[in-house]
């Protein structure tokens, strides 16, 4: 008994070191998990989550009866699918091309420039997009589309394209860098041997670079698929300037969760939406990870 205690005593400093982070995770992550019961309650602010009355599945019924649910699920899935495809292709292109460039100084310059948008906040990006698209003052309407101005912030036609471009511009540098890291580890002698055998650039890319990158491509792909129910709230909330007429093409699950939470009496519906999102996300990430583990176990996240 004494010996056991003496052994534990040695570890006491470690438990003390854990306390602040543990407290934070309990407050920030675990208590809100319990708070998920708010999806089954009619929330009243003075009663708190636990004191508010149970309403069973009423919040969910509400949700399923409105048209909003179909729209936000459709948008979230389709935008994510488009982002995954565009980011993978453009990211691979940028990564393969940059590793072909011999001049180290230019290489650095290029790499810095493709990563720069990644460091900007979405609010600033929304200002830049506004400078391009504003109805009255926008660069496009005043300089290029002088004769056929477009009411960008009330015309839904172009929004899928706009959001795909903005998203790609802002985040593609991140994916490209991961691919660059993968290409750098490929054995140079493979390329030299291929070149001696007379394989051109395109053949080398097709038969050496892409197959070597396959594990990281698949990993990034599966991880994005596991987050297909989530969207970048800032992208969909700020870039369209929260314009109501664009709801059909810019609302996603995350913007809906926020706007219903802020609307009178919407908290229950918002919590119900959030709960479904979290559950689907949970199932998908477990599935995606077990697939990654099968394909290349070192890339699995757990």
């Amino acid at each position: 008994m004494n010996k056991k205690f003496a052994k534990l005593k040695e570890f006491i400093p470690l438990y003390l070191l854990m306390i602040p982070c543990a407290v934070y995770l309990i407050i920030n992550n675990y208590i809100p998990m319990v708070g998920i019961v708010s999806a089954f309650k009619k929330f009243r602010i003075m009663d708190g989550i636990l004191g508010s009355p149970w309403v069973g599945l009423q919040n969910f019924e509400y949700l399923f009866r409105s048209n909003d649910l179909t729209i936000i699920i459709r948008n979230t899935l389709l935008y994510n699918a488009a982002f995954i495809i565009v980011n993978t292709i453009v990211g691979l292109f940028l990564a393969i091309l940059i590793t072909e460039i011999k001049n180290e100084k230019m290489k650095k310059l290029y790499q810095s420039s493709i990563l720069l948008p990644f460091t900007l906040s979405m609010v600033v990006v929304s200002y830049i997009v506004f400078a391009f698209l504003s109805q009255e003052n926008g660069m496009l309407n005043n300089s290029i589309l002088k004769n056929h101005p477009v009411e960008w912030f009330s015309d839904p036609t172009w929004w899928p394209l706009i959001l795909i471009i903005v998203q790609c511009w802002k985040t593609v540098g991140y994916g490209a860098l991961i691919y660059i890291a993968g290409i750098v580890t490929i054995d140079r002698s493979l390329f030299e041997a291929a070149a001696i055998d007379g394989a051109g650039k395109w053949k080398q890319i097709k038969h050496i670079t892409l197959p070597s990158l396959l594990p990281s491509i698949i990993t990034l792909f599966l991880l994005s698929v596991s987050r297909i129910g989530y969207s970048d709230f800032g992208l969909f909330y700020l870039i369209p300037q929260n314009s109501g007429t664009l709801f059909n093409v810019t609302a996603t699950i995350d913007t809906y969760v926020y706007s219903t939470m802020m609307a009178a009496g919407g908290i229950g519906r918002s919590a119900a939406t959030g709960l479904m999102q979290a559950l689907v996300g949970f199932i998908l990430i477990i599935l995606a990870n077990s697939l990654v583990r099968k394909l290349s176990s070192k890339d699995a996240i757990f």
């Binding site: 070191l17 543990a22 995770l25 809100p32 420039s113 609010v123 600033v124 700020l238």
Partner: protein, 290 residues
């Protein structure tokens, strides 16, 4: 050889074009901020304005109190959030890096589980509101961003792989407890990874506008991003709360908004050439998973 050279020229031309596309939007932001307001209203935002003017920056200097305060709040929040976050994250990572710690497996799992499942926005919002962060500077620091399982795992694996076990053993023989080992060995040895995580944390806090949106309604507590966010909805209410009403009409609004946005990213642009290498390394190491 000749073929090789023509390849290089083509690749460079293509990449130069890509680099310009990546940077051009920022150029538009900057040029808009130094465009004369009348020229701007007549011809819109443009890469080639009819007339340049520093009016927007002049206005900012004479009415600098709002912006300076927002800037100060952002700096304080970034420093606090990064420091507290790094402290609690490294302490947890270090403890979990000791494999024979009783309870390690279950605690690691509980940390890790936060990556897989979350309660969603509503319960978190109610939780932090009940804790009284609304309209305090802590609303920017504590909710959501202080630490996360990815960073804990990342730093832990760094400790596991870079600190040789023998070092612990010899420290123990010398009679040093885990506190001493943490401060005297783990922290100095872990510097590279701690710096990387800290860099991304700084960026996260500097750019955060969400906590401002959720929890701050008092204009005197706006951070620079919160200020920009509110301003895009209603520029007068933010910028001109102190100035006289006659000057509202004369405000170079269209260029001021761009000037403030540019000032908000200025520190990033100035530091970027020096830190971009660490950013790139951090992403390659998996410092943040998109």
């Amino acid at each position: 050889m000749i073929e090789n050279k023509s390849y290089q020229i083509t690749f460079n031309i293509i990449y130069l074009f890509i680099a310009i596309i990546m940077i051009l939007p920022l150029v538009l932001l900057f040029v808009s901020s130094i465009t004369d307001n009348n020229a701007l209203i007549a011809n819109g935002y443009s890469f080639f304005p009819a007339k340049l003017s520093l009016e927007a920056y002049g206005y900012m200097l004479t009415n600098s109190s709002t912006i300076v305060r927002a800037y100060m709040i952002t700096i304080i929040v970034t420093a606090l959030g990064t420091f507290i976050g790094l402290a609690i994250t490294t302490m947890m990572s270090f403890a979990l890096s000791i494999r024979n710690l009783p309870g390690n497996r279950i605690i690691s799992f509980l940390v890790f589980f936060t990556m897989l499942f979350n309660g969603g926005l509503v319960p978190s919002y109610i939780m932090w509101t009940n804790l009284g962060v609304v309209n305090t500077i802590w609303a920017y620091v504590f909710p959501f961003f202080l630490t996360n399982a990815f960073n804990i795992v990342l730093i832990r694996s760094y400790f596991v792989s870079s600190i040789p076990k023998e070092l612990y053993e010899s420290a123990k023989i010398d009679g040093a407890g885990y506190f001493r080992v943490f401060f005297k060995m783990a922290l100095p040895l872990g510097k590279p990874i701690i710096a990387t995580v800290g860099l991304f944390s700084c960026l996260l806090y500097w750019n955060d506008w969400l906590n401002g949106l959720y929890f701050i309604t008092d204009p005197s507590l706006y951070s620079i991003q919160a200020l920009l966010n509110r301003m895009s909805q209603n520029i007068q209410s933010v910028i001109n709360s102190s100035a006289s009403s006659t000057s509202v009409l004369n405000l170079p609004q269209a260029s001021i908004r761009m000037a403030i946005a540019f000032v908000a990213i200025l520190p990033i642009l100035v530091l970027y050439p020096f830190i971009q290498k660490y950013f790139a390394n951090g992403i390659m190491k998996g410092a943040i998973k998109g």
